[in-house]
Symmetry: C2
Subunit: 325 residues, 2 copies
């Protein structure tokens, strides 16, 4: 399949693995890229620019195909060394950067000068238009369904994708709720040029996380996610568990007086441990509603091949058949 996104990113299939903290290591990105999609290394999961440079080099040892790096701009007291990370990305020969969080305007000129394509993750049409106006090449349109940070507007992709198509001139991919060939064809029909998957890629053979994480996704239904940190206007969709129930009770009890410090350990502090050691109830961890559509742990190659075959069948046989009946 050929779309504006496959051409822009020089990939075989219009499928991107979204940046995921403590999941997007070299093993994950290389597996997706080797399967013809675009793998993404999560920049800030690496503790320093030197570590990121090393991770990029490791990934290059595992694939000759293009892969990208995610760089997330979050409101933090002690900002990471963003110029250092950008330098590691440029010197590593990376050609695609996924930005997320705050507006990436500050780093954009450096990336563009290095011939890097920038795709910015947005949860609203107004943010997508802003990304377009500052010179991003594409956006990833992230619906209310998504794992992680859906923003505060609560607009699902069934509305957000056609709205983005009506307003944007740059190409976009769908993100949030994406699982299979059905998601891909639906996204393309609503104006996207490809799709971004997060949670679905965690439940693959190559995802470098503890098996308990994968099993938790398999066992979850679409009803099993919760939104935490809404009172802080930093909403995150996570899989429900005992820690999440504690966090929600604390949010309820403290009301408007809640501070990030009150819950930071359970929403962020234990995250690396959950992913690597599989201590699932130790805290909150991002998971999309799409968990309800995930029932197996294929290799990335098997997953992407299956999606593309299903998309082909839906377009030619199902939709074509309805038209020509």
């Amino acid at each position: 399949m050929k779309t504006i996104i496959t051409e822009m990113f020089n990939i075989e299939h219009p499928i991107i693995q979204g940046g995921m903290h403590y999941v997007g290591f070299a093993e994950m990105a290389a597996a997706v890229s080797n399967a013809g999609g675009l793998g993404i290394i999560t920049g800030l999961t690496q503790r320093s620019p030197a570590d990121l440079a090393n991770e990029i080099a490791r990934c290059k040892d595992m694939t000759t195909k293009p892969f990208g790096v995610n760089l997330t701009f979050l409101p933090t007291v002690n900002a990471p060394d963003y110029p250092g990370y950008v330098k590691a990305i440029i010197e590593g020969g990376i050609k695609v950067v996924e930005t997320a969080g705050r507006n990436p305007a500050e780093v954009l000129p450096y990336l563009k000068d290095a011939g890097i394509h920038v795709i910015h993750k947005c949860t609203s049409v107004r943010h997508a238009l802003k990304a377009q106006s500052i010179g991003c090449d594409a956006v990833s349109v992230d619906g209310f369904e998504c794992g992680g940070h859906p923003g505060e507007d609560d607009i699902p992709n069934m509305i957000l994708l056609p709205r983005a198509a009506d307003e944007l001139e740059i190409p976009f991919v769908s993100s949030g709720g994406m699982a299979d060939g059905r998601s891909l064809v639906a996204s393309l029909a609503m104006g996207a040029q490809g799709m971004n998957m997060g949670t679905r890629f965690i439940a693959t053979k190559e995802a470098p996380v503890h098996d308990n994480v994968k099993q938790a996704i398999l066992q979850a239904s679409e009803l099993d996610t919760r939104l935490v940190m809404r009172p802080l206007r930093n909403t995150e969709r996570v899989l429900n568990n005992k820690a999440v129930e504690r966090i929600l009770e604390k949010e309820q009890a403290l009301g408007k007086d809640i501070q990030f410090e009150d819950i930071i350990e359970e929403v962020a502090g234990v995250y690396p441990k959950i992913m690597s050691e599989g201590t699932m109830d130790a805290g909150a961890w991002s998971c999309g509603m799409v968990a309800g559509l995930i029932n197996d742990i294929p290799s990335c190659q098997e997953l992407i091949d299956r999606i593309m075959q299903e998309a082909d069948d839906i377009i030619q046989q199902r939709l074509g058949g309805m038209l020509n009946a």
Copy 2:
């Protein structure tokens, strides 16, 4: 286009006009059916079974094509004369009934014996499976995006439609967030056999509502709806206005002590007046997020023709082109 739903309901296009209180009069249903979709008269908008019988007769004067009747089972102290309405439906020769709200098991045998196809509106997979198990012929799967009552699960159609496809044996149509050919093709790709539109049909020339209602839909963006009655677990998505702000403040202030009686006048009492007189700020009225995708007031024929042409173009040119490039 031919699908299981067009065959089951004997209609030309897989597009259904959902039941809408004080909108689904004979004029609305006839216009949709004459355009090749399935128009629906809202049963309980008629004050008595005799009034419904008269409305069905009026609709038959306006169209020779099939149309249906919506029958909603809501928790009410003084239940309407459901047996009487069912009798009017059967004697009126109606062949499709859209049920909504509570489980329609009590009336189902009478409808089925009369050769009527029943499509039940559901906001969850478990309710859809229940509808299937009691003998409904089809379901209308209503996502979080929808105007009116989305239930309490908050699952959007990007997740709910493929989940329904994975679980159901009976056919289903998508509902909530549906506006155009993009919505239709996306729905069909995710497993639906057609789509149900509500808000989109209010913004048509023939919709028998005050022009202020249509203009309010045109002016609204996807960000302009709100959820009222959530504390009562009878959530309704409505267009935001001054009355809605008052209702939400009252819900916040009363918390768990709120009673339906505290807000009934503004969420239901003035509804007929709003629709017929266009007193838009007098109370809350149902409107889907899809308002953000509605920018004109075509005739039903123009709207449906445009949707089908757009769907054809998306399937053959856009999706077919991506595959064969």
